[in-house]
Amino acid sequence: MSSDAVILQYENLTLAAGRTPVSGMLRAGEIKGLAGLEGHGQEQFLLALAGFDQPQGGTVRIRTAGEDFADYSSHHAAARHGVVYLPRDRRSTGIFPVLSVLDNFGIPSMPRFSLAGILNRGRQKEALAAYTDFLSIRYPSMTAPISALSGGNQQKVLLARLLALEPRVMLLNDPTRGVDLNTRLKFYEAFRQLARDKGIALVILSSEIEEILQICDTVSIFRDFERTEVIEKEAMTMSRVIAAMFGQNEVAL
């Protein structure tokens, strides 16, 4: 697959009643940022791409093989097609607090590491070991409870969880929220590598504009449940993005 092939198309996603719908596409290897003031529709947009709560009439299509595209309207179907989602609140919707690191990593990807419903723990552990290297995750042992890990390492385990699904599109809801600086830099490096080497398209919703400036190719600005602006890499500056978030042309910082 060439790195600029369109892998996802979305049409007429209405983020709130009466607002202008959003349409567009994602290319392989693209890193798209989503920004906006809290609660201006960027999260709804991300969730719609992930297959949750899709608005009436809108469609999201993923390239299956060759020139074929398939619609999906649930997060299960999305994941089957390689579209995966990282939730925002790690503690309440991400981790399984009493379960081990291995289980926290492996729950959604179990079918890949099993035969007739019986898990092959060996292969699962190999996979985790590989992602542990890639993301430099630190944990006492694979059987230690996830809650024994630092927030950053928990987040890395959750990212590894998504990678084990062999995604083509990763939808990340504020992935570096509450994470230390080193982990953050590791994440940026990983995102770039995933986009460049594996052709994964990433959509990153972030509450930190600097982060978007650092890693995203484009940023879509959301205001009042509409996508008001799309800024390309060359034109991306802090003041430009903030101005767009507030619905103004430019602000002096």
Binding site: T93, G94, P97, I107
Partner: protein, 321 residues
């Protein structure tokens, strides 16, 4: 904090096994004949029946639910199997029909509890009541029939497995235990069960379908309750819709004494086995020291409170924040 918790959960089952030994020692001291082969065999059979009935309750509680329909399903299986077999149906066909019926009852309860977010306590209570009433209407309150000889033999006090002095029920329960532990630890279903019990919201995002899981798990609960009901038929000899009544409390107690918390995500079947044995031992001791049936019930209530207070307590609210 959670390391300690995990450690304690592991230990709770151990504590329960310590309880098994302790109660046995007390019984052997207080009651002549308590440690005899006959008495041990009887207790093992009763504990096996309870453990089978409590298997499903364990799964349901790992999920964070509770199944109050177990006694009603036991009664359903007991009466319907006896009637079908008594009416001339081959035992295996009757068995299949009863287990399939039970599976449907459980699947219904589980599915609507999860799909409509209704507390399973209410749903299983309502469904159980309906099931029991239907059975009673069907038999007009006068159940008939009996168990086929091979089931009598399977659970009989005088049964034997080759040279070993106990019926096939004992090795069957042992095999069932090993299978359950394997399923819980090494299968997709088992791990999903713990994940869903541990954090339902995260589980849904991690591609677990709660309605399917709940339907499957309650279905299993009903199937094992039905199995216990059929074995009870072989044990008691005649059918009765009320035969399951004591199992409502006893399954819950066995699971909790075994260290599975009702909040979900923790525990396992090894502990439940210990819980079942402790309960049967306690009952035997209380009857053995000459208490009336009514006082046995009261004393059992007190003892269970003491046991659970010793190691089965919840966390303080301040630790939940």
């Amino acid at each position: 904090m959670n390391m300690i918790l995990k450690h304690l959960t592991g230990n709770r089952a151990l504590v329960a096994y310590a309880g098994v030994l302790l109660v046995f020692a007390v019984g052997a001291m207080l009651i002549p004949g308590f440690a005899s082969l006959f008495s041990i065999r009887a207790m093992l059979i009763l504990a096996s029946l309870l453990a089978i009935a409590a298997l499903g309750q364990t799964l349901v509680m790992i999920l964070g639910g509770i199944d109050l329909s177990i006694p009603f399903v036991i009664g359903f299986a007991n009466v319907v199997f006896a009637s079908l077999y008594g009416g001339g149906m081959p035992a295996w066909v009757a068995l299949a029909i009863v287990l399939a019926g039970a599976a449907m009852i459980g699947a219904f309860s589980g599915a609507i509890s999860a799909a409509l977010s209704i507390h399973p306590l209410i749903v299983t209570l309502g469904v159980g009541t309906v099931v029991q009433a239907l059975v009673q209407i069907w038999t007009r309150g006068l159940p008939t029939g009996s168990a086929p000889p091979f089931i009598n033999e399977f659970v009989s006090l005088g049964g034997s497995v080759g040279p070993l002095p106990f019926p096939w029920l004992i090795p069957f329960t042992l095999a069932l235990t090993i299978a359950t532990i394997f399923v819980l630890r090494r299968t997709i279903y088992g791990r999903k069960l713990y994940a869903l019990g541990s954090n339902p919201k995260a589980a849904e995002l991690a591609l677990i379908r709660p309605v399917v899981m709940w339907a499957m798990t309650f279905s299993l609960s009903s199937i094992f309750a039905a199995l216990a009901g059929i074995f009870l038929l072989g044990f008691t000899g005649s059918s009765s819709a009320g035969v399951g009544t004591p199992y409502l409390f006893q399954t819950v107690a066995a699971v909790v004494i075994g260290g599975t918390a009702l909040i979900g995500g923790r525990g396992g079947f090894i502990g439940t086995i210990a819980g079942a044995i402790v309960l049967v031992e306690l009952r035997t001791v209380l009857i053995g020291i000459g208490l009336s049936e009514a006082m046995v019930q009261s004393a059992l209530g007190v003892l269970i409170l003491l046991l659970v207070a010793a190691y089965g307590r919840d966390q303080h609210i301040r630790n939940l924040i």
